[in-house]
């Protein structure tokens, strides 16, 4: 287990739209230091939360883009599948002028982070996978989030569901909000309807990852069983594994300080200036 470090909090991010091939990417950016590309979970587009503030305050230039078709990023219809998504993020690193960056990905974003580190190991200075999707483990199935009613989804994502924001039951449904959520879900389905939230070839490709890697799992993950994180840790050479207790798959929504502390502690020992570490 990595020791959490004390970090300053709070930072107001800059909101930017970055032109890359195929459209515009919406992103938040804050903090000074080595670049840290944060790849959000399926439900995390457009979010700048305590977790992000803590990372930025911990001495990193945190870049948090919305994935294609998510949040305020353009649709990027030609980004059809995970391989396209990897090229998209290589384009984004190019557009930012970043030769290498720390890459932190959560859930769906963790899957992208792992694929990026497989495809372009030299671009990833260090890698943190927070309960990453992406592995196909039929003996440890991921429940079908596309078929879950929203109340059940909240109960599945959180260790302690009351921490989830309560939906305003009496308010009239906000059509724009429904459409925005449907657009995010549509973008997720584009990459993960079948094979479901996974790339069957990813596991055997993980040997290509050269970055120092931290794999983190919340102890009570009811969406992506902890066995997935364990498999990632066992297939990536030298990977460290950590569990956050009393936490569900919502991770940085539910326990932002713990997740930020683990990631910062790991990054502190793996600066980009270390060069290719292995």
């Amino acid at each position: 287990m990595t020791d959490p470090v004390t970090v300053p909090s709070a930072d107001t991010p800059a909101e930017e739209f970055l032109e890359v091939p195929g459209g515009r990417v919406h992103m938040f950016r804050a903090g000074e230091g080595e670049p840290l590309l944060f790849l959000h979970a399926a439900g995390g587009a457009g979010a700048w939360l305590d977790f992000h503030r803590l990372l930025a305050g911990g001495g990193y230039d945190v870049i948090a883009p919305d994935h294609p078709g998510f949040g305020k990023s353009d649709d990027f219809p030609e980004v059809e599948a995970m391989d396209d998504l990897v090229y998209h993020y290589l384009d984004l690193l190019d557009a930012l002028g970043l030769e290498r960056a720390h890459v932190v990905g959560a859930s769906f974003g963790g899957w992208i982070a792992a694929e990026l580190a497989v495809a372009a190991p030299q671009r990833v200075g260090s890698l943190a996978l927070l309960s990453a999707a992406g592995l196909r483990l039929p003996e440890h199935p991921v429940p079908d989030i596309f078929l879950m009613p929203s109340a059940e989804l909240v109960a599945t994502l959180f260790h302690n569901p009351p921490l989830a924001p309560a939906p305003a039951a009496s308010a009239a449904p906000d059509i724009d909000a429904v459409l925005a959520a449907y657009r995010d879900a549509t973008a997720l389905a584009r990459f993960s309807w079948v094979p479901f939230l996974s790339n069957p070839k990813l596991e055997r490709r993980l040997r290509r990852i050269t970055a120092p890697t931290l794999v983190v799992a919340p102890s009570d993950d009811r969406l992506i069983p902890v066995a997935h994180a364990q498999r990632y840790a066992s297939r990536i050479a030298g990977a460290r594994f950590a569990e956050v207790p009393d936490c569900g798959h919502a991770m940085y929504f539910e326990r932002p300080a713990e997740f930020a502390g683990l990631v910062l502690g790991f990054l502190a020992r793996n600066g980009l200036s270390n060069g290719v570490s292995r």
Binding site: F146, L147, M148, L179, Y182, T186, L188, A189, R190, W193
Partner: protein, 381 residues
């Protein structure tokens, strides 16, 4: 006016705790509740009813496709059409339709419909649907690709039917190096095409530009009117007035000798259809990407109640179903003809939920003998 007898082939024997225990009669409703003995009896009973409708003078008998569902027992409508082809002689055999959005190999649909055209001596009508949302779960097809798959499959099938030369087909979702179907269809240039569905702007433009028949699905009269107007507007923009037969109202119909008997018998059947048969949570009906943003906005803005929230009285008053004596049903359908700005085909769902064989055949007999003659002159070109 043309009249068709449409069958869903429901499995009505649901467990007593269905309402409390199961989210839907589709996709996740365990198939342990399917009794094979009862199932065999149902298939033969339902085919008997379709064959009987042919002898009663209906212009068409219609089947459709659903998967993993007690709502309808026809995963392959083409098999049911084949069973009817040589046991009927007069009525059109209407496949309404093949769910080409979820087919792995749409060329197979072109081949099977062409075969059916021969078996039926040129009586087959070919409907194409995208497939309901839950069927994208059931057959593991990405709903985000639904509309593209439908459009590409449609273009491929029509070209396969009409080309007299071998060709290659390349589109984003399908690739065939050799398309050269045997048999070619009997009807030239190809069997008539029907598009059942909700009348989004995209769908109506598609129907009108190809001059296909649009067929409505369960909806209140005010919504069906918007769809039919959408077809007429799209045709007008293309510079023509559609033949009335290209606009089809499909609706559950129940007829008995008297109004009171009709309502007493129809109420449980209609309630079964809308509360159990059509029990589908939103996640099943509308998976991600299945609807375009514009269509979803339209649906959200029409503020329709879910089927389960509609009382029997509301279902009748809003025009989801028609029930009554022959005179009352003729009056109601005539009034709906006016309210809808006209239509040229009526596709009636006569076997509703748990209705018995005797009820269904009696309803069809009364409709054929007393309602059809009264309505026949409407909607003539």
């Amino acid at each position: 006016m043309k009249f068709s007898f449409f069958h869903l082939m429901p499995y009505p024997y649901l467990p007593d705790d269905f309402d409390e225990t199961y989210a839907s009669s589709s996709l996740t409703f365990p198939n342990k509740h399917f009794d094979p003995k009862l199932g065999t009896q149902l298939y033969h009973r339902y085919l008997d009813e379709l064959e009987y409708a042919d002898t009663l003078g209906f212009d068409g008998v219609a089947v459709n496709e659903h998967h993993q569902s007690a709502y309808g027992l026809m995963p392959s409508p083409n098999i049911m059409a084949a069973a009817l082809a040589r046991r009927t002689s007069r009525a059109r055999i209407m496949v309404l339709g093949n769910a080409i959005g979820i087919r792995g190999n749409p060329l197979r649909v072109a081949e099977e419909i062409a075969m059916l055209d021969h078996l039926s001596n040129g009586r087959v009508d070919s409907g194409f649907v995208r497939g309901i949302g839950w069927e994208y779960f059931a057959h593991s097809i990405n709903p985000v690709k639904s509309r593209d798959r439908f459009n590409e499959a449609h273009d491929l099938i029509v070209r396969a039917w009409t080309s007299e030369e071998m060709f290659s087909w390349v589109s984003p979702n399908y690739e065939y190096r050799y398309v050269n179907i045997w048999p070619r269809p009997v009807q030239q240039p190809h069997p008539p095409i029907y598009i059942p569905g909700a009348g989004s702007t995209e769908t109506m433009r598609f129907c009108a530009s190809h001059r296909y028949t649009f067929m409505s699905v369960y909806a209140p009269t005010r919504v069906v009117r918007m769809w039919f107007d959408g077809y007429r507007r799209a045709a007008s923009e293309l510079g023509y007035v559609p033949d009335p037969e290209k606009i089809a109202l499909s609706i559950p119909i129940y007829v008995a000798d008297t109004d009171s008997r009709a309502h007493a018998e129809a109420r449980p059947a209609v309630e079964w259809l809308f509360r159990k048969g059509l029990k589908q949570p939103m996640e099943m009906v509308n998976p991600p990407g299945y609807m375009s943003p514009g269509s979803l906005r339209g649906v959200l803005m029409t503020e329709r109640k879910p089927f389960s929230a509609l009382s029997y009285e509301e279902l009748l008053a809003d025009g989801y179903a028609v029930v009554g004596s022959p005179a009352a049903v003729a009056d109601r359908l005539g009034a709906m003809y006016d309210a809808l700005g006209g239509y040229g085909q009526l596709i009636g769902l006569f076997a509703i939920g748990p209705s018995t064989h005797e009820q269904v055949t009696r309803s069809a007999e009364l409709f054929a003998s007393e309602v059809i003659p009264a309505l026949r002159p409407l909607g003539a070109a």
